[in-house]
């Protein structure tokens, strides 16, 4: 009996940690919790967060709820708590992600190239970045399928959040380097060709599964479109200039009804913000945060226009940030938000924090698990000394599904 118990304890040793699955509950006291709900609470002062089985059980002001018995208490003193940061444009979870044999590679997947918890990801974790979308490069029009993964788990299965995480489309520039005198018009045509095929393929399957029509022949190349058609995954677009972003919005989102979001929209892309709003296309910005003084077609009269500011001007509510790591080191994701705010983005309603958490989580369709401090969501918590966007702020601890994966008290400070 006792033996059993002890063995059980022994077995659960790792699982003993409070907050982790099977372990006892964990109660965190924090001076401030950046809740970052999509539509609702943003901040809770003197907050109490209950964590159980890797999930957030409850979050409220200390005065409002009792700490259940058996819960381990941790007082974080003056420190803040916030949800783990999400970056939807990264390339550093592995290598070998730019296949440029063909222009259209809707069948390729980055999954087989993934190296979980690698050096880059570890440093990112230490910066509070807990979830990334790992996508193919923009060497070709359609680079392939990315995956959503957590940065802190060394095991692929645990790290994986969703595969396919997105279909990567690159509309201009980089792919043109590919040669053959190919310009944007032809690349655009190729995209349309494969999307039309893909959607037809998806529809054929739907019909078959609905019992109509006979079984379509399986086509790896087009399977991803079944996911897209069912809105189970999104299109992440390498799209920057006005006319490319316009295409992302009007062609991909409006005409083909794909879940698409602007991935690193820069330069004069913000001039599309009104149609972006109309068509519910989120704007994930960076690593270029300001319009160059000398944009390709528009004049700014020498003024420096922040992309985030620009989108905000048209009242765009879904502005997020990305690093395009390694273009910008993944751990500098918060800096992207900081720069957005620096160059004019109104940050009065915590837009910077939202842009690092709930906004990307929402557009990636994982806000049921991630992106905010809400009951039922993964306990991916970042314990930090203050405003996350402020470079002076230091990250003290990072919890992943309740487990302490980074702790400056225990590990050497990585960032």
């Amino acid at each position: 009996m006792v033996v059993v118990a002890t063995t059980l304890l022994a077995l659960a040793a790792s699982a003993q940690d409070p907050g982790t699955p099977g372990g006892p509950g964990l109660a965190l006291f924090a001076a401030k919790a950046l809740v970052a709900e999509l539509d609702g609470r943003q901040v809770v002062d003197n907050a109490l967060i209950l964590v159980k089985d890797g999930q957030i059980e409850a979050i409220a002001a200390r005065s409002e709820i009792e700490v259940p018995t058996g819960y381990t208490l941790r007082d974080l003193g003056s420190q803040w708590v916030m949800p783990g940061l999400v970056d939807l444009h990264t390339h550093v979870s592995g290598s070998g992600i730019n296949d440029t044999v063909f222009q259209i590679n809707s069948g390729l997947r980055v999954a087989p190239t993934t190296v979980p918890a690698n050096r880059n990801l570890k440093r990112a974790l230490a910066a509070g970045v807990t979830t990334v979308l790992y996508i193919p490069g923009s060497g070709s029009n359609m680079g392939g399928q990315g995956i959503l993964m957590k940065t802190g788990f060394p095991e692929y299965e645990r790290a994986l959040v969703r595969d396919p995480g997105s279909l990567k489309i690159a509309q201009g520039d980089n792919p043109t380097r590919w040669g053959y005198g190919m310009g944007r018009l032809l690349m655009n045509f190729h995209l349309r060709t494969v999307i039309e095929q893909g959607l037809a393929y998806a529809q054929a399957w739907d019909e078959f599964e609905a019992g109509e029509g006979d079984k379509p022949e399986r086509e790896l190349r087009l399977d991803i479109f079944r996911e897209l058609a069912a809105h189970r995954t999104q299109v992440s677009t390498h799209t920057q200039y006005f006319q490319l972003v316009m295409m992302s919005i009007l062609m991909l989102a409006r005409d083909y009804d794909l879940d698409v979001y602007i991935d690193h929209g820069s330069f004069d892309s913000y001039l599309n913000s009104d149609i972006a709003v109309e068509n519910n296309v989120a704007a994930i910005l960076g690593p270029r945060e300001v319009m160059w003084p000398n944009p390709p077609r528009y004049r700014t009269d020498g003024q420096v226009h922040g992309s985030a500011w620009g989108f905000q001007q048209a009242g765009h509510p879904m502005i997020g940030f990305n690093t395009d790591a390694p273009v910008v080191p993944l751990e500098e994701l918060p800096l992207q938000a900081a720069m957005g705010a620096r160059y004019g983005m109104d940050n009065s309603a915590m837009q910077a924090v939202r842009g690092l958490t709930i906004v990307p989580a929402t557009v990636a369709g994982i806000s049921d698990r991630l992106g905010s401090l809400e009951a039922g969501k993964d306990a991916d918590l970042v314990i930090l000394s203050g405003d996350p966007a402020d470079p002076r702020t230091s990250i003290e601890q990072v919890y992943l599904e309740g487990e302490t994966v980074y702790d400056t008290a225990r590990d050497r400070r990585r960032w």
Partner: protein, 472 residues
């Protein structure tokens, strides 16, 4: 009625002659001028008279003489007015119903004279381009360092002046170049001061010897003495400012070619007594890193002119182009001037910018650029407002001789052949046409506008409205 206008005409002429002749700068030129003017006489034994009768004469001095006559003797205007006595054997051209303007002056040209440099010995006076330039109203043009008349069919009496528009460079692209030029100016002005001092001192001390000219740039001395004006090519604000400062510091009047951002620093240029050679339609966007105004502006000519900078206009291409893309070459000098009007320049100033102003810059304003007694009989006869896009030169007269006749040449005879084209411009869809303005302008610089003109502008009003109403 006639007599009255006639006298008006005369007073006008007198009124404007004086200032013009006074304004003749540079004694250096007057010598050249004598040389030039003798030539014709030596060749003709008998005087050659030419009378241009009945046209509305836009003298270019502000005066408009309707239905008047210009009489020229041996290529020089002898008399302008009404009921003139026409000598025996004079060649007479009746241009009633047409307009007479001074021949246009192109401050830059390519390929009009056939020849290379040394026009007197290499000109091809029958070249197609020369005829086409005359068809565009150009009767005087600069080629290299020479300025010459388009005397089709002649190789004499051609070159009016040479060694004109000496170039200097003073640009931020070459700081060292700027320094050396500044030093040259320093030295030259120092020399002039010393020389003046010496003039005084030597009265007392005979031994005192003249300061040495050694190492002094003689051309710069000429600029400082106001005997000549240097030409700079500059378009950017900073360069323009620097040149203006240099000019004000040492006291010379620069001519600036390009001048795209002149409208931004117009006042400085005005104070420096600068003149601008520009293309009204110049197109350039400013450097984006600048938060101030910059780049080109359609208002450039107007703003500069308002600031007292004399403006000379030249199209973006100074050659004759038959490639088909029209409106940007020397065949369309008047169109370019039209764009300056679009930008706010007055019609009068626009006409000056392609006649008297360039003539002044090239030191030949005592010969060409306006219709005045004593000047060369270089005139163009048009079927309407010279700045209107539809107007064609019907005849071009150079040195009192018809050197171009639209109907006699192949090129444009078929376009609105003369009888039809004799329509007065008012009958055209043409609002740019505003003689009132000329009169107003001219009321400024001469005592009385004269009834002849007032009457004239009255007419235009009526017909203008009339035409509007009569349209379907």
């Amino acid at each position: 009625m006639h007599i009255q206008t006639n006298t008006n005409g005369r007073t006008l002429i007198l009124a404007v002659l004086l200032p013009i002749f006074l304004s003749l700068c540079a004694p250096a030129f007057s010598q050249d001028e004598k040389k030039e003017q003798e030539e014709p006489q030596t060749e003709e034994e008998t005087d050659e008279w030419f009378a241009l009768q009945g046209g509305d004469i836009y003298t270019g001095t502000g005066a408009v003489l309707r239905g008047a006559t210009v009489l020229s003797k041996n290529g020089t205007i002898d008399e302008i007015g009404y009921d003139l006595f026409i000598p025996e054997g004079a060649e007479v051209l009746d241009v009633s119903g047409y307009r007479v303007y001074p021949g246009l002056v192109a401050i830059e040209s390519r390929g009009l004279f056939g020849g290379s440099s040394d026009l007197a010995n290499s000109v091809d006076p029958f070249s197609k381009n020369m005829t086409l330039a005359l068809a565009a109203g150009v009767t005087t043009a600069r080629s290299g360092s020479e300025v010459a008349k388009l005397r089709a069919g002649h190789i004499d009496g051609l070159v009016l002046n040479s060694g004109i528009l000496p170039r200097l460079s003073y640009s931020k692209s070459s700081p060292s170049g700027k320094r050396t030029l500044r030093e040259k100016f320093e030295a030259a002005s120092q020399y002039l001061r010393d020389y003046a001092q010496w003039q005084i001192d030597k009265k007392s001390d005979k031994e005192l010897k003249e300061p040495s000219k050694k190492g002094i740039d003689s051309s710069i001395l000429r600029y400082l003495r106001g005997e000549a004006r240097p030409l700079f090519s500059a378009s950017q604000r900073t360069d323009l400012l620097e040149i203006a400062r240099l000019a004000q510091r040492f006291g010379f009047r620069p001519i600036i070619d390009g001048c795209q951002e002149g409208w931004i620093v117009a006042d400085e240029l005005g104070r420096a007594g600068a003149s601008a050679i520009l293309t009204a339609r110049d197109r350039s966007s400013k450097g984006e890193q600048l938060v101030r105004a910059g780049g080109s502006s359609i208002e450039n000519a107007a703003i500069l002119h308002r600031a007292g900078v004399s403006v000379t206009i030249i199209p973006s291409s100074a050659g004759i182009s038959l490639g088909g893309i029209v409106g940007r070459d020397l065949m369309h000098l008047t169109v370019e001037a039209g764009y300056a009007v679009r930008g706010g320049l007055s019609e009068k100033a626009a006409l000056d910018s392609i006649t008297i102003e360039p003539a002044r810059l090239m030191g030949v304003s005592q010969r060409v650029g306006s219709i005045e007694v004593g000047k060369d009989a270089d005139m163009i006869i048009t079927d309407g407002d010279v700045l209107h896009y539809q107007t064609f030169v019907q005849w071009a007269v150079v040195a009192g001789e018809v050197v171009y006749d639209k109907q006699a040449e192949l090129y444009f005879a078929h376009i609105r052949p003369r009888p039809e084209a004799a329509l007065s411009p008012e009958e055209r869809l043409d609002a740019g046409e505003t003689p009132e303005e000329e009169i107003v302008e001219e009321a400024g610089d001469s005592d009385s506008p004269g009834e002849g003109n007032e009457e004239g502008d009255g007419e235009d009003h009526d017909e203008d409205d009339g035409d509007g109403g009569s349209r379907p």
